[in-house]
């Protein structure tokens, strides 16, 4: 933990205080080990310097032409080094800390960054801006992302539960980015009282809290298989077919498109809400 912190602190320190000639020159060959970082790097105009990505990095489309180094968690050190990077950007989590140390030992600069919630996006963007010499672009994006995170949420007009897994039921709690997305889009997460990012709950708790929508991260256009299970039909939203099927690429990761994700979610909630009142239940809508 301390050492992980010190890596970041050192980087920040170097960028903040030392004279320019002492700090590392802007990174030219970057391996990004999280889709959020890849999107941020492209958004600040450093996309052309990304030489490695994870298999999940599918946005922007230009990222797909960059060689993949695997699933990134934990990173395949040899595959990363084979890209001859001068900077590796990792998500700040257990196995990545070990990987970062190994890369540092091989003389490659690394940075571990938290991107768990909206308010992490601004600092993450600034860090990437400093490391790539794109401070100005990073600053303007960071200001926009900071204001997104600091915006007071609109009054909730509807409610939802994010279901991550059906058996046992795992839902999203207050500590998660998805909870923030819902709140900012004007929906109350019925499990907002659970502090953890996600938690196992009893099905009857979902029935009792009676969300208007069941939100699922899914690239499919049909409701998940559990919609047909008898025990799940005790949930009113499931019986009514009130599913929000949210593609993971847009909704499942914090990044420069978070504002877009909030807007899209709000649109879907409103459109489906109107549709559900007047016509047959909608099974979510395909992304535009």
């Amino acid at each position: 933990m301390l050492r992980r912190l010190s890596v970041v602190v050192l980087v920040l320190f170097a960028c903040h205080t030392s004279a320019r000639r002492h700090e590392n020159p802007p990174a030219q060959r970057i391996v990004s080990l999280l889709p959020s970082f890849t999107e941020l790097l492209f958004a600040i105009g450093a996309g052309d310097r990304v030489v490695g990505r994870t298999q999940w990095c599918d946005y922007p489309p230009a990222a797909l032409s960059i060689p993949s180094v695997g699933d990134g968690l934990p990173p395949n050190i040899e595959a990363v080094m084979a890209r001859r990077p001068d900077l590796v950007v990792l998500y700040n989590a257990g196995p990545n800390v070990t990987a970062a140390k190994q890369l540092e030992r091989a003389g490659i600069q690394t940075v571990l960054i938290d991107v768990n919630r909206l308010e992490d996006l601004g600092p993450a963007t600034r860090t990437l801006g400093r490391l790539t010499g794109r401070e100005e672009q990073a600053e303007s994006l960071a200001i926009a992302l900071d204001s997104l995170a600091g915006r007071p949420p609109p009054p909730a007009t509807t409610s939802l539960a994010f279901v991550v897994w059906d058996n046992p039921p795992i839902i999203i709690g207050h500590g998660s980015y998805l909870d923030q997305l819902a709140t900012q889009a004007g929906a109350r997460n019925v499990f907002g009282d659970i502090a953890a990012p996600s938690a196992q709950v009893s099905l009857e708790t979902i029935v009792a809290r009676d969300p208007q929508w069941i939100a699922v991260l899914s690239d499919s256009a049909v409701p998940p298989a559990f919609a047909k299970r008898r025990e799940w039909r005790a949930v009113r939203a499931v019986r009514a077919g009130h599913f929000l099927l949210l593609p993971g690429s847009l909704f499942g990761r914090p990044g420069p498109r978070s504002g877009n994700a909030i807007q899209q979610l709000r649109l879907r909630l409103n459109r489906n809400g109107v549709g559900a009142q007047h016509a047959a239940p909608l099974h979510g809508t395909p992304s535009r």
Binding site: P168, V201, T205, R230
Partner: protein, 313 residues
Amino acid sequence: MKWTLLAIVAVLAVALSVVLGPAAVPLGELLRSDIVWNLRAPRALLAFLVGGSLGVAGAGLQALVRNPLADPFLLGLSGGAGLGAVIAIALHLSGPWALPIAAFIGALAALGLVYRLGLIGGASLDPRILLLGGVAIGAFAAAITTAIVSLADAAELRNAFLWLWGGLSGASWDSVLLVALYAPIPLVVLLAASRPLDLLALGEESAQYLGADVERVKRRVYLAASLLTAVAVAVSGVIGFVGLVVPHMARLTWGHRHRSLLPAAFLGGGALLAFADTLARTVVAPRELPVGVVTALIGVPVFAFLLKRWTIA
């Protein structure tokens, strides 16, 4: 007297499981509540049936292999079921029952392999090889499962492990009906083998001299106990310690005669699992504990107590 007491405990455990839950349902509305009818009642009954089945399967297997450590999941079935479930997810098999059916088939495949290994020394089923084969097949299936999970792309594969340890969240009247129709067959087969199982405790040769058809009994008991475990894992995942601890508890009071030991293990196992599931649903509400955690937390201290009694005796 002791039967009455056990029956009261069992009924109480199921009743408690219906009355208590994370959602507040007033007592007066208990009979009209959707939550009680569609979720709690089937879940309580399923817990009772699965717990009872595991208790009986454990008692039968412990007699068969003449080893007090035998647990229904020691015979490779959980590994097979897990592999089946992961394959179903990896192949994107859809449908509400895809996972339970795939897990059941996986458990049956493991059962068949272990049974075949048990016959490796000839026509006679060797209980020691059954145990070793079960552990080996289970480990092998688990290795393939892990390989699939780490190589395949689908992020949801990691959730297959959740399902495997999932407990009773999938309970519905469908699954209750399924188990209620299926379980009596292997249960009756095991009960019918009570007398030869008593004899088996004296050793295979002695049992043979006393008139037991040892080969037939061994096969029947193994298959019946495994089929019970396979359906349990298909509807509720792996729930540890019930099949291990309950037979020992039953033996303390009912002795070693299987005609009374097996019914006692059924009622005791059912009561224990219904009670454990009530705790799992309520103690950290609105969150829920995996029921296997609760059975282990209750089971291990009881087991330690039993071990102490044995070593003193």
